[in-house]
């Protein structure tokens, strides 16, 4: 029995009495690919905020590699090996594609080493490799702000991979992408799983189905059920809260 990489124990988050998360439990095994779905307001983003240290839970504990993350500041959590992609793509718009990726792969991320030296050979290779994965190599010197929405999404995913985290938290990676781009993103995430642990939050059911991963359904800050996509979609509780309107997807 391997130890879970990430373990959320009875997490409760209260915003002025409103429970964004209540008594949430979740385990992720190393190398796992997991999808999290849930209707709007189910607490999906809050749940990522708790893991990455942006929000402190009022109760419960977050364990990562056997140590508690509570009270650890965001940049330290990131350095421990948790990377996050935001819901709407957040890249550094005034920096070029290459510079965005250079910041992600930089290690150590200390002022002095950034000031006196450039990237080493390996890191430079990695930047080029990442650009070729997400097909941005001929945009290397473009300001990230001038990229299309889909390209920004991919750049942010590439930055996430460049950080080389053990756990990737990916919030709505295919929002606003074309079908073709969506398929490519699904393949990319699947290829990352195994070496990395990946947690994907998405609304797009077809995309989730393509990931062929276990699915966790959140509802009102609580885990409603877990299982394969088919199991989840057949669950009457899920149909009631969430999938009732998308039954036609079963066909």
């Amino acid at each position: 029995m391997t130890m879970p990489l990430l373990e959320l124990r009875q997490i409760t988050v209260s915003f002025d009495g409103f429970l964004a998360l209540r008594d949430l439990n979740l385990n992720l095994k190393p190398g796992e690919l997991r999808a999290v779905i849930g209707p709007n307001g189910a607490g999906k983003t809050t749940f990522l905020d708790v893991i990455t240290g942006k929000t402190t839970p009022s109760e419960g504990d977050v364990m990562f590699k056997g140590r508690s993350l509570l009270g650890t500041r965001e940049h330290r959590i990131a350095r421990l090996g948790i990377g996050r992609k935001f819901q709407s793509p957040r890249v550094f718009e005034k920096l070029s594609v290459q510079e965005n990726l250079a910041l992600a792969v930089s290690c150590p991320k200390q002022p002095w080493s950034l000031l006196v030296g450039g990237l080493n050979g390996n890191q430079r290779d990695q930047v080029y490799h990442l650009m070729s994965i997400v097909n941005l190599q001929n945009r290397a010197d473009w300001a990230a702000g001038s990229l299309s929405h889909g390209q920004k999404q991919w750049l942010e995913i590439a930055m996430l991979v460049g950080q080389d985290p053990d756990l990737l938290l990916v919030d709505e990676p295919v929002a606003g992408l074309t079908d073709e781009e969506t398929d490519l993103t699904a393949d990319l995430l699947k290829s990352l799983a195994g070496d990395h642990t990946v947690l994907v939050i998405e609304h797009d059911m077809e995309f989730i189905r393509r990931l062929e991963s276990p699915v966790t359904v959140l509802h009102q800050g609580h885990v409603l059920c877990e299982g394969t996509m088919d199991q989840v979609q057949a669950d009457p509780r899920v149909i009631e809260v969430y999938l009732g309107t998308t039954e036609e997807n079963n066909g």
């Binding site: 990455t52 940049h75 990377g83 957040r90 910041l103 950034l114 010197d141 930055m159 950080q163």
Partner: protein, 380 residues
Amino acid sequence: MFESFTTRTKQRFCWPQLLLWVVVIAVIVAAPVVLPVFRLNLLGRFLSLAIVALGIDLIWGFTGLLSLGQGIFFAVGGYAAAMYLQLNSSEGQPNGIPEFFSLYGVDRLPFFWEPFHNPVFTLIAIWFVPALLAAVLGNMVFRNRIKGVYFSILTQAALLVFFNFFNGQQKLINGTNGLKTDVTQLFGQMIGSPEMQRGFFWLTCLMVFLTWFFVRWVVRGRFGDVLIAIRDDEPRLRFTGFNPTLFKTIVFAIAGGLAGIGGALFTVQSGIVSPQYMAVPFSIEMVIWVAVGGRGTLVGAIFGAVAIMYTKSLVSEAWPQGWLFIQGGLFILVVTALPEGVIGWLKSDGPRNLLSRIGFVRPIGTYPQLEMDGQDEVQT
């Protein structure tokens, strides 16, 4: 083949910039010959303000920290220089301490004056004390994640605190009257003598160049990219594993140190340092130099400081009440028409756009990009 479509201006060769440098160097070389002592002295003072402006550009233009309290560090640097000069010239005075102390019945040198007997200590203190002060003040603010307009208000409040404190300390630093330096001695010469002043002019020019090189080194490369990232999306940077508080503290300290150096050079060329250097309007003016010159362009900061201050002194001589109107007008112009400042406007093809708008030059090359985009679509 992609170069001509690069949307970034950072690496692009830019003729206005080159032209500006030629003009600047020509002015500096010619100035001592052409200008009367009085004007040369003014130019030297304004160049020392350019050093302060470079620091402001670093924290505001690149990192997005709008400090309205740079006067603190400017004045502290000035006081450090003035204290050494006062001590250096107080041998014949009663008790061997600067003359003003006797006005308040002080017969022993306050303890913090002691190390300023040493010229090496003074040269270090001029930049190190303001930098340390900035680091401590900055860190307290940054670690609590106070940003934006709240940061600006806090720096201005700190400025007022220091202003009032310095004003009230007659027995320590001569309060409102400040410390005079023009009749003090250095290397056996009067600070106020034309030869010394010319020396300070050259020293200031050298320091402006060194500062420019230094700040350029800081903002190029990944460190500078981190600063821009802090300005544009600080939380995102945290989740990438960087600690913005550390970076912000460092650049705020650098800007403080530069303000100190500028303050010391300004003091020796003005002949006095007083709490007036910490007046609120002066620190706001510093920000206006950078805004008018161009945020995020180092040449703009230097140009802004020197051009505005020189114009100010010329206008004030001819029309004493006029300057405030012009300064206000400049500020409105920058906010409404030139958000990137003068140098930023020149860099972004502003002149050609203006000419084409009023019909002098026909717009050229509008369509190649479309074709380019088409090809790219096929590739992806």
